[in-house]
Symmetry: C2
Subunit: 520 residues, 2 copies
Amino acid sequence: MILEERVFGMTTKMDQAEAPLYIKVHESDNVAIIVNTKGLSEGTVFPSGLELVEFVPQGHKVALVDLQEHEAIIRYGEVIGHAVKPIPKGSWIKESLLTFPTPPPLDTLPLATRDRSSQKPLEGYTFEGFKNSDGSVGTKNILGITMSVQCVTGVLEHAVKRVKEELLPNYPNVEDVIALNHNYGCGVAIHAPGAAIPIRTIQNLATHPSFGGEIMVVGLGCEKLRPEQLVKDDDGSTITSLQDQEGFHAMVSSIMAMAEERLLRLNQRKRVTCPAADLVVGMQCGGSDAFSGVTANPAVGFAADLLVRAGATVFFSEVTEVRDAVHLLTPRVVNEEVGKKLVEEMRWYDDYLASGDADRSANPSPGNKKGGLSNVVEKALGSIVKSGTSPIVDVLSPGEKATKKGLIFAATPASDFVCGTLQLASGMNMHVFTTGRGTPYGLSMAPVIKVSTRTALKEQWHDLIDVNAGQIATGEATIEDVGWELFHLMLDVASGKKQTWAQKWKLHNDLSLFNPGPVT
Amino acid sequence: MILEERVFGMTTKMDQAEAPLYIKVHESDNVAIIVNTKGLSEGTVFPSGLELVEFVPQGHKVALVDLQEHEAIIRYGEVIGHAVKPIPKGSWIKESLLTFPTPPPLDTLPLATRDRSSQKPLEGYTFEGFKNSDGSVGTKNILGITMSVQCVTGVLEHAVKRVKEELLPNYPNVEDVIALNHNYGCGVAIHAPGAAIPIRTIQNLATHPSFGGEIMVVGLGCEKLRPEQLVKDDDGSTITSLQDQEGFHAMVSSIMAMAEERLLRLNQRKRVTCPAADLVVGMQCGGSDAFSGVTANPAVGFAADLLVRAGATVFFSEVTEVRDAVHLLTPRVVNEEVGKKLVEEMRWYDDYLASGDADRSANPSPGNKKGGLSNVVEKALGSIVKSGTSPIVDVLSPGEKATKKGLIFAATPASDFVCGTLQLASGMNMHVFTTGRGTPYGLSMAPVIKVSTRTALKEQWHDLIDVNAGQIATGEATIEDVGWELFHLMLDVASGKKQTWAQKWKLHNDLSLFNPGPVT
Ligand SMILES: [Ca+2]
Ligand SMILES: [Ca+2]
Ligand SMILES: [Ca+2]
Ligand SMILES: [Ca+2]
Ligand SMILES: [Ca+2]
């Protein structure tokens, strides 16, 4: 799909990095984006004959030909809108010059139509992980404490602090103790259709591979979400209810005792050599810009293909950033059933947005637009590139656990922390996050590798960005180079041999549940 | 409204505390609730002639007369349902024996019809508070750091930890430094009609009276919720955007520098004597039981009347627990305009629940039911008692700032932390929380006084419950006694002279925004 054309302009400077540069993604595109950090001024000339008739900022689009009123504006080989008036060649195509196209209709999509020449298996790649009895593999060794209701947060935080100070030092193989904070469990319409999502999310987070099968649940006692709905507790050792305790000190003691039992067992966990196939990698973008679809996301897509060839599981997500490009994805599903599930998730989200008097135009953000993305169509075309080229073997509803290997569409909102939380619930043990504007994203349950779309961001955020894909724009690196770099880094980070910047600074954003149902 | 009849049964024991006891609330009631902690067994006889024909648990209802099929079951002098079959006198009235009544229709409610004999002003009561230049008064002295988007959480947490360790000890008059964590700001439909609520909540939390007018906002840069929408920043000293910083260390340094500037000024704040009229008290219940409306809530209602007589502001809230008793409240509004606002909030919530395929029956919780509350009608009748008897001078939409003194209905969900967060946004500087089942509730921005509805809870949670209203059930204390105890305790806690248990253990639940709009 990506047929990049990188065109340097004339420059008096010898430094190629500062030479005027635009990138056209697909041969049929009639627009290109400007690469230079400070944009390019009126009068800039390219050997292709293009001359800018006005200033164009970095990442923003320039018209490669004279565009008539109503003419289709094409990027990634797809229509991203129509010209509201004639746009002369060399003009800056501002957001206001495009109409907003209707999304692909959902009832006529081609399902599973693409020929699948099977990709060559990629063998011999391994990492050092924590094998669990259920077959899953953790990249971390953590005690995770589940809560059935937010009411217990204050007590649990107090207890976790004491566990970390007083007990954790005795169990050096255990990396961390975390409370799975959320704001669900009571004061919500627990029987509303939307409630299934947050409930299964909490349930699936409790059994995350980083926790080594050691589950404990702290509940209150009177909450709507019954702890017994979340986990089995045959011998009564898995759940503690604060209302059964004789006051605050007893609550803290009970939590600490349950924690210590589990720390003892978790401390026995050792890293062993696992095939790359045991990775479950969640791909996501946030704070995107016009380079996302040209640099970072294609490199991530290349790495996704490597992972799939190695037998691993790869998630891509973010329904609102897939919706407008779904016609490019439905041909890639493995069969009609998976195709229908994909379409169903799109339809569900259309309805969900409509029920809140919103629509897909609520995405992108002001920062996305400043970064050159005119609308969600252009954003989606750049976003789905993260999925690479593999067949889509399954579709998960928000928070469902993955049961297959290969490329999976895990339906989630695009909201960064909601998406990350749901991918964790689906079993993700490694997260790759691409960003153009920059966001200091981090999770406690899985390592997060941050990939910048622009070199300027990597330079500015030298101690937050792990991989720079910006060099792809300037031609200093290829998509393949960065894709392989990322693949190797994933294995090293999964093994605990390298730390991401977010791990180094312990940047842990809160979990963020997706609750489409009402609060009461 | 409360015309309690407390009836002791025969006992061979000399200890009155263990004598069989039921409470009938209103003279027209045909049911009463059992007071004894372990319930009462079949054959228990009362001097009224009542004999239990089966075991009845604590807080649960007993039929005082033979009830015919379809006959109205009356508690608090109001119909809480109809008998689904004949119920003999002395039977346990289980939830399944009541039909669920339709709620009061909203278009025929009597507005502002009650005669208002003005209450005698209560003078001479004061507390030691922190006066702010805008006229508000804080009960705490805290640096509150606002975030425009959840993306900054990880960095901000790191910075706050360092501020508390390295800077706060130099400013002994400042009690705490807190990040106003939330999961809003991006990845949400920012132009959906529901978005107004979380946005004004964040805005009004930023200017909470505990923060002494010292505002600082940490933003990312590309988020949908613009920091400039939240606060004015004429001189550029109020907002920092992480995307403007040269990496992680620069971000932390910039936050720490902004924080220190403010700590310096906050450290100058001193407590001064303020009239009780400067209190803004939010009343709430959570983990309610059948005693809530007989013991704790009436005592809180009595204290609410004292506060109003002293010129203070009192909020009651929790729409789903007001809806079924709204016909008892609309007569009490001061004028038609306020009445219409009250009705409008009920209607908005009916629609909100319906849009998520839920209704008011989503409340109560399993614990409420175990505590004897059959349905939300019975719960509501006990819940609104917190409002006392004063006229309702104003109605606030969720998260709006109060501008009047007196009794105000601040519309919020009943969800404990959502309600508390919204009452804080409305300007609450003191929180009173009644509980029957027990919840270790706490907030960082205002003290929380916890009142138990039952003596057994106070005995069990000796180091969490501040006031025991359970003695009202057994006749060992009157509603007036506990109401005055609470009033005096509020003044002492507001002055920093006494600490609540939640303050002592630093039990701080997370803020919980109310976002009725979709995520994207
Ligand atoms: Ca994205
Ligand atoms: Ca995202
Ligand atoms: Ca937190
Ligand atoms: Ca309540
Ligand atoms: Ca409540």
